[in-house]
């Protein structure tokens, strides 16, 4: 039987969850034996080359590119996992939820303390830039998500146990110490 194929991405996240994946230490060698990576920052494959068994996504959706990426993952992955607080509830980027986008953008580009008052006020508007969403969305508000692994970042043991359980079909045990929201 061929190895399960895994894809990962960081949307509106800080890559901390990916760091936590690396935090499984030497078990990473076992992981390489267990799975094959496809589109992921881990191996720098930029586009899907095949259907994946497991998609792991860190970060919520704060712009149109995030949404496109997420939909792409849903299309190519049989199982999709929300990894970390940002994917599950928006996380720190979602602190702007409730504040009008205009106000946020003006604070960042016109009024923040590091802007020289004499400079022309420029709002980034290049066509290449993705459109910012009205608020930050958790992944499950945009596509169907199959599993959730909370934490900021999720503990390496949680990620490891969840992956092994998923691949081997064993039941996932959730010891108290590994399930945390911070």
């Amino acid at each position: 039987m061929s190895k399960p194929v895994v894809a990962t991405a960081s949307l509106a996240g800080c890559f901390g969850c990916h760091m936590s994946v690396l935090d499984i230490d030497d078990r990473i060698l076992q992981l390489i034996d267990l799975v094959e990576f496809n589109k992921s920052p881990v191996d720098d494959i930029k586009t899907f080359t095949k259907t994946c068994d497991i998609g792991i996504i860190e970060g919520g959706c704060c712009n149109s590119e995030n949404v496109e990426n997420l939909k792409e993952f849903r299309k190519h992955c049989k199982i999709l996992i929300s990894l970390g607080e940002c994917a599950i509830m928006g996380g720190l980027p979602a602190m702007r939820n409730g504040i009008p986008v205009k106000e946020c953008m003006e604070e960042a580009y016109y009024n923040c303390p590091t802007i020289d008052k004499n400079d022309p006020k420029i709002m980034p508007n290049d066509d290449e830039l993705p459109m910012i969403l009205d608020r930050v969305y958790p992944l499950h508000e945009i596509v169907k998500i199959d599993y959730y692994l909370p934490g900021c970042p999720p503990r390496a043991d949680l990620i490891w146990e969840a992956l092994v359980a998923l691949i081997t079909g064993k039941e996932l045990s959730l010891p108290y110490e590994v399930l945390k929201f911070d």
Binding site: S82, E85, I88, Y148, L179
Partner: protein
């Protein structure tokens, strides 16, 4: 007065007349989760986490006194799921950013989330527009995190009987407010007491924070209620 005998989840328990079901359960080594209930304060029954079933009816175990021969159901799967739903509701009703909250690790709402293994709330997030009131010298009042348990309203009272905190509005617009004149006279001790009485991170002391390192906080390794039993 003679002791009262009741059963909680099939266990025969002794209780004193007038005692609440929560307190009776605690004395008999049974943990019924609470959030708005706080030692030394008159029970308010605002959060309903302690919901139990007595005679087929749901009631708040913190405000219901024990009765002779009472048969209380507490730890049944349906009641536990209802409690989990309440925890999830509280999470979506506010803006609970655990990763950047100073109370994380010591927060009772979060601890209940851990106890019920909340992976994601079953309800949609509401993102209410809430404010932080940092205008008083000793404390921050972050309404994003308030669960309206009224522990501060009941507990933070000046020696002459005035309430430092109160409620504004009604229904889903209900919000905690602070009496600025009284709060400006708060001592460090009163501020600490107010912070301790808050189950979440809505009331925080100024100029101190993150005193206890991660790993040594109240609920880092011990689930809420593990000191009571079950």
């Amino acid at each position: 007065m003679a002791d009262i005998t009741l059963t909680i989840d099939g266990k025969t328990c002794k209780a004193k007349p007038g005692q609440s079901i929560v307190d009776a359960a605690k004395e008999n080594g049974i943990y019924i989760p609470v959030l708005c209930n706080y030692e030394g304060l008159k029970p308010a029954g605002t959060c309903r986490i302690c919901t139990v079933r007595v005679g087929g009816r749901f009631m708040a175990a913190c405000t219901t006194p024990v009765g002779e021969g009472m048969i209380v159901e507490s730890g049944t799967p349906d009641i536990e799921d209802m409690r989990k739903a309440i925890v999830e509701m509280l999470f979506v009703e506010g803006n609970h950013m655990c990763p950047c909250c100073e109370k994380s690790g010591n927060c009772e709402l979060q601890a209940l989330g851990y106890r019920y293994q909340m992976l994601v709330p079953r309800f949609p997030y509401l993102w209410p527009a809430s404010q932080v009131d940092a205008s008083t010298p000793k404390i921050f009042l972050d309404k994003n995190r308030c669960v309206q348990c009224l522990r501060c309203v009941r507990g933070a009272v000046t020696p002459d009987g005035k309430h430092v905190f109160g409620l504004l509005n009604r229904g889903d617009r209900t919000a905690i407010a602070i009496d600025h004149a009284l709060a400006s006279k708060m001592t460090d001790e009163m501020a600490q007491k107010a912070m301790d009485s808050c189950p979440v991170g809505a009331i925080l002391r100024k100029e101190v924070g993150y005193v206890v390192p991660i790993g040594m906080r109240k609920f880092d390794s011990k689930p809420i209620g593990s000191d009571i039993g079950q």
